[in-house]
């Protein structure tokens, strides 16, 4: 079975921030890059499927040259091939999905795995949009996956931990939740070997965007806490209310 895993090299911000000249993004000098946490679970899940039933694991990302480091992470874990799609920069998940759809068409995987969301954008949309563009069903937030003959049985993890058992016809797109497995470590040998692997680079045309960021800014600090007063009984009452409203 060929599994295509869509990954993202995400960016994280420290305590200091500067914006680009046009103010629509953070200055790259202030960002650190890493493989998206959810995607390592997705990659691990794909590798386990291959170990159980044979086949191939292909990882793909949309990003600039530096995002190949994330692909190589996955190769070091045991992915077989890696593809990078160039020409699709920015924060629009649907545009990314269109670029990935081209790869799905070419690779014809039986299963497409994405992470539930990326830690830097938290759109939780790319996999879902991709599914529709390639005519596959989508189940999002998968905490357990069983592939046999016939439909796959997945556990969809709802808020509060309730599990929804879903049967899904393959080929399908599944977005993978953290904790579904324990991603294996890659030893130095595997990392070094992954350095040598040739990554296929494709171009994608810039499709119309579904959104555009017109400005990024740091949220006003010192809006300050809404003070609940100093009467313990009133404070306790408000706390109980907040807990009731916002948890579960």
């Amino acid at each position: 079975m060929r599994t295509l895993v869509c990954i993202k090299q995400v960016k994280s911000l420290g305590d200091e921030v500067e914006f680009t000249a046009d103010g629509t993004d953070v200055d790259p000098d202030y960002l650190d890059a890493a493989l998206n946490e959810w995607d390592s679970y997705a990659t691990e899940e794909a590798i386990r499927l291959r170990e159980a039933g044979g086949g191939e694991v292909v990882v793909v990302t949309c990003g600039p040259q530096e995002s190949e480091a994330a692909l190589r992470r996955c190769l070091a874990m045991g992915a077989d091939r890696a593809i990078r799609v160039e020409g699709v920069e920015g924060h629009d998940p649907i545009r990314v999905a269109r670029a990935l759809a081209e790869v799905v068409h070419d690779e014809s995987p039986e299963l497409v795995l994405c992470g539930v969301q990326s830690s830097d954008a938290v759109q939780a949309a790319t996999g879902t949009a991709l599914a529709e563009l390639v005519g596959m069903p989508c189940v999002a937030v998968v905490a357990k996956l069983e592939v046999g003959s016939g439909p796959a049985r997945v556990h969809r993890e709802l808020e509060g931990g309730l599990v929804d058992l879903v049967d899904v016809d393959l080929p399908a797109v599944l977005t993978i939740q953290t904790g579904i497995n324990e991603p294996r470590y890659a030893n130095l040998r595997a990392i070094k070997q992954a350095e040598q692997v040739e990554i296929e680079v494709r171009q994608s045309s810039a499709e119309p965007a579904s959104s555009r960021i017109r400005r990024m800014f740091t949220p006003p600090r010192g809006e300050g806490a809404e003070m609940l007063g100093s009467d313990p009984a009133e404070v306790a009452r408000r706390i109980a209310e907040i807990v009731q409203e916002r948890v579960a």
């Binding site: 994280s12 911000l13 921030v17 953070v26 960002l31 924060h91 649907i94 539930v116 938290v122 759109q123 949309a125 879902t128 949009a129 991709l130 529709e132 563009l133 596959m136 069903p137 989508c138 999002a140 937030v141 969809r156 808020e159 509060g160 309730l162 599990v163 929804d164 058992l165 879903v166 049967d167 899904v168 016809d169 399908a172 965007a209 579904s210 959104s211 555009r212 960021i213 017109r214 400005r215 990024m216 800014f217 949220p219 600090r221 300050g224 806490a225 809404e226 003070m227 609940l228 100093s230 313990p232 404070v235 306790a236 408000r238 706390i239 907040i242 807990v243 409203e245 916002r246 948890v247």
Partner: protein, 312 residues
């Protein structure tokens, strides 16, 4: 500007987030709420609140959520009604279909939105980036319809009786390719993993003594919370480091973080400031924690605890 809200329901109950969408939506225009289920009538009462102009029921699919049904229903509703804005809660369900609709129809899309404004006829959504450290204003040039998945608990839920007008919408969807089988309750976890808790009851050096801990832990438990601590409590040897929130402990993002007697050292804040809602109780009005808290109280934590014990 017409607004279409997609109701979310689970096991026969309309979820709170739906009513929050109504509050958000009515600022933008007349709100229509779509209820999609095999028997949507039974759910109408849960969405008939103030601010809803129309409720449209779509009797289709299964009793519970299935992504193909909602996708097809929404696509059809958009084609028929051409709303300017579609509001969905940013939930696990939404993650299964919302972006699919936007991709198929070429619509505007943004999720985890916590601010929506209208500039003339243009919708601008505000959402966070880079772990919530920066916000961004997002616009949707040329989009006839914009789908926004709103962050739950950002808007207050609409209440009262709406007296909305009623209509039905026929849909004959193709069979679901991802089918609900059954629900399974989550297994009770024996391990205390503070990173998995939705509600953390966190205490710091303000508790004074290890003796206070059993009572605090019992209260936390009754509140459905997990007890976590800041560094000084671990330093003093009162709790193991597995309970420590902070840069050298664990980073947590619960829905609600209650901080009792925690002053808010830089390293502690680094471990919890991404929490959904932070409530801080401290006798020191200058405590740094008040800078990141959403709610604060300058009070003695034990006085507040005593009052909480009456409520739980």
């Amino acid at each position: 500007m017409s607004v279409l809200v997609v109701a979310e329901h689970l096991r026969g109950e309309v979820r709170d987030v739906t009513r929050e969408l109504v509050t958000a939506g009515k600022e933008l225009g007349p709100v229509t709420v779509a209820v999609i289920a095999s028997d949507p009538e039974s759910l109408v009462a849960g969405v008939d609140v103030e601010g809803v102009a129309e409720i449209v029921t779509v009797a289709a699919g299964a009793a519970e959520f299935e992504s193909d049904t909602y996708r097809q229903a929404l696509e059809a509703l958009i084609a028929a009604r051409t709303p300017k804005v579609v509001l969905i809660g940013f939930t696990v369900n939404a993650m299964g279909y919302a972006a699919a609709v936007a991709a198929k129809l070429g619509l505007g899309f943004a999720s985890d939105v916590h601010g929506v404004t209208l500039e003339g006829e243009t919708v601008v959504a505000t959402r966070s980036f880079y772990g919530g450290k920066v916000h961004g204003e997002v616009e949707f040039p040329g989009a006839a319809t914009v789908i926004l998945a709103l962050r739950p608990t950002t808007w207050p839920p609409a209440e009262g009786a709406g007296g909305a007008s009623r209509s039905t919408f026929d849909l004959a969807p193709s069979p679901s390719r991802a089918r609900h089988v059954e629900f399974v309750e989550p297994a009770a976890s024996t391990d205390v993993d503070i990173t998995q808790a939705d509600l953390l009851f966190s205490v710091g050096r303000g508790i004074g003594d290890a003796d206070a801990l059993p009572e605090l832990e019992a209260l936390a438990s009754r509140m459905g919370a997990v007890l976590s601590v800041s560094r000084p409590v671990v330093d003093a040897g009162w709790m193991p480091s597995s309970r420590q929130v902070g840069q050298s402990g664990k980073t947590v993002k619960p829905k609600v973080y209650l901080a009792f007697g925690i002053s808010g050292a830089v390293q502690h804040l680094a471990g919890m400031k991404a929490s959904g809602t932070i409530v801080a109780v401290n006798t020191d009005p200058e405590a740094s924690i008040f800078g990141v808290a959403h709610y604060g109280a300058v009070a003695d934590l034990f006085d507040v605890v005593e009052e909480l014990e009456k409520l739980y």
